[in-house]
């Protein structure tokens, strides 16, 4: 009942918003048609999809995103585990990590385009940098917060360091790790769009910059819609993954 109500009211609100947006220009609420109209945006979306422009852009952007993100996971989780496990290392590296964690990595864009090349190289680099720190830091926090009693239990039954990792630390730190991955996806997507808008000749971000510069508002809003949809789908996938992972945990606990 509540769920049904939520969808119903939410859908109605979105519909009302679209109606107001559609009516704003013809009714003269907005002098300059700087906001386009939903029907026009829909038409532009169909046209851009039919011409293949959206797919080409998405392909390039997603390629950069996935490569950078996979690298971030492959680097972030093991390094996070090691830092979380050894108190000495975490004390040594914490201030350094916190300083870098607090800095918007997109600010490094001018360096990255020179180091890794305009376009694909810089995109992969900024996604990697944006995503790796949330993953690393949250993994380390997760490892550190695992109850040491469990570690001692594995030890006293003759378990090796590998057993400790596999049976206690890794499963125990999954929820914070997932938080890191969720934050990392957001930072990574941001990085892709910034990189392509800053300096690139392809990808969704480039198209957004291009339509913006040529004042083609309708196409611009259609492209912003594509990026929004992408972000929404990713967030939803992560939420499902989180639910799925925590379900598995509940089963193995006893």
């Amino acid at each position: 009942m509540k769920r049904w109500q939520r969808a119903w009211i939410g859908g109605l609100a979105v519909f009302a918003f679209l109606i107001l947006w559609e009516a704003a220009t013809p009714l003269g609420w907005v002098r300059v048609a700087g906001i386009s109209r939903p029907t026009l945006v829909g038409g532009a979306f169909v046209q851009l999809a039919a011409s293949g422009e959206i797919y080409d852009g998405l392909y390039i952007s997603l390629k950069g995103f996935f490569l950078g993100f996979v690298l971030a996971v492959v680097i972030g989780i093991p390094v996070g585990v090691v830092i979380g496990r050894y108190r000495f290392l975490s004390m040594l590296l914490d201030p350094l990590l916190m300083a870098i964690y607090n800095m918007p990595k997109v600010a490094m864009m001018p360096l990255l385009v020179v180091w890794f090349g305009v376009g694909f190289g810089a995109t992969v680099a900024v996604v990697l940098l944006g995503a790796v720190f949330p993953i690393l830091v949250n993994t380390a926090v997760g490892i550190r917060e695992v109850d040491p009693v469990w570690v001692r239990a594995v030890r006293s039954f003759g378990g090796s360091e590998w057993d400790v990792f596999k049976k206690v630390l890794l499963p125990g730190s999954v929820p914070p790790m997932m938080t890191g991955i969720r934050l990392g996806v957001g930072r990574g997507l941001l990085g892709v769009v910034v990189s392509e808008m800053y300096a690139s000749t392809e990808g969704i971000g480039h198209l957004i910059g291009l339509y913006g510069m040529s004042f083609r508002i309708t196409e611009l809003i259609a492209m912003v819609g594509v990026v929004s949809l992408l972000g929404f789908v990713f967030a939803d996938l992560i939420r499902r993954l989180e639910v799925w992972v925590s379900k598995g945990r509940a089963e193995v606990q006893w």
């Binding site: 979105v14 350094l96 800095m103 600010a107």
Partner: protein, 255 residues
């Protein structure tokens, strides 16, 4: 597995050693030409660039511009976001109606709105503030809503049964009760606003830390770029410390 107990001082010493060590490795890499010094610069060069920036006075102008944009953006999002979050926390239909918009904004890479802001507001501080506002407001709304929803309904009913007006309910029950969540949201929102400001300045402006980085980046003067990044780190760490201080002041009653 180390069972050694570390004292409080050790954290400070080891942390300092970590930072100094990293700087040393960087300096050596540049001196020994393990990497092209033009590309990686070096801590000594960065320190020089930082001094030049400060002496010329441009540092204070850039820092002032960035902080100004940041403060306006975060202030506006608190002013709009906290009431919005309270309404969403109090009123279920309002929550359901605004939910799709909030979640869409939360998951979208918001930089994609940048060209729209440029068209609507023109190049300059206004577009940058708008972008940073958008980056930060979502976090404030969500945290406020969660905070308001988490208030013990017994307190609300108690206030109601003593004939509390809506204003009293807001200032005496809702706001104090949701404060820890709101301040936590403010801290996250500041980080997001900083991203918005820096990105906006990076793309187009004529002042600010992001502008400094972009300006010297295109001229391949990387010592100045690193100096800019250093100041951004200081701003980021300084802000999160300031909020932490605010947090311990405001939320003291909780414990």
């Amino acid at each position: 597995m180390s069972t050694l107990r570390y004292r409080r001082y050790d954290t400070v010493y080891l942390g300092a050693i970590g930072i100094i060590g990293a700087l040393l490795v960087w300096e050596l890499a540049a001196r020994l030409r393990l990497a092209d010094p033009v590309l990686i610069s070096s801590p000594m060069l960065v320190a020089g660039a930082l001094r030049g920036w400060a002496v010329s006075g441009a540092l204070w102008r850039d820092l002032g511009t960035t902080l100004y944009e940041l403060v306006i953006a975060i202030g506006a999002s608190a002013l709009v976001g906290i009431p919005l979050g309270v309404i969403m926390g109090w009123n279920r239909p309002a929550e359901y109606a605004l939910d799709p918009f909030i979640w869409l904004l939360y998951s979208t890479p918001l930089v994609s709105f940048w060209p729209l802001f440029i068209i609507w507001l023109g190049i300059g501080a206004n577009a940058i503030i708008a972008l940073a506002f958008l980056f930060s407001i979502v976090q404030i709304v969500i945290n406020t809503m969660v905070g308001v929803k988490g208030i013990d309904p017994v307190l609300v009913r108690c206030a109601r049964s003593f004939n509390a007006r809506a204003v009293d309910l807001f200032f005496k029950v809702t706001l104090p009760g949701a404060l820890p969540m709101i301040v936590a949201g403010l801290r996250l929102a500041l980080g997001r606003a900083l991203i918005g400001v820096i990105v906006g300045e990076l793309f187009s402006s004529n002042a600010g830390l992001g502008f400094h980085i972009s300006f010297y980046g295109t001229r391949l003067q990387f010592a100045d770029v690193f100096a800019g990044l250093f100041v951004i780190v200081i701003v980021g760490v300084g802000m999160s410390q300031a909020i932490r201080l605010l947090e311990s002041r405001l939320v003291r009653w909780k414990s």
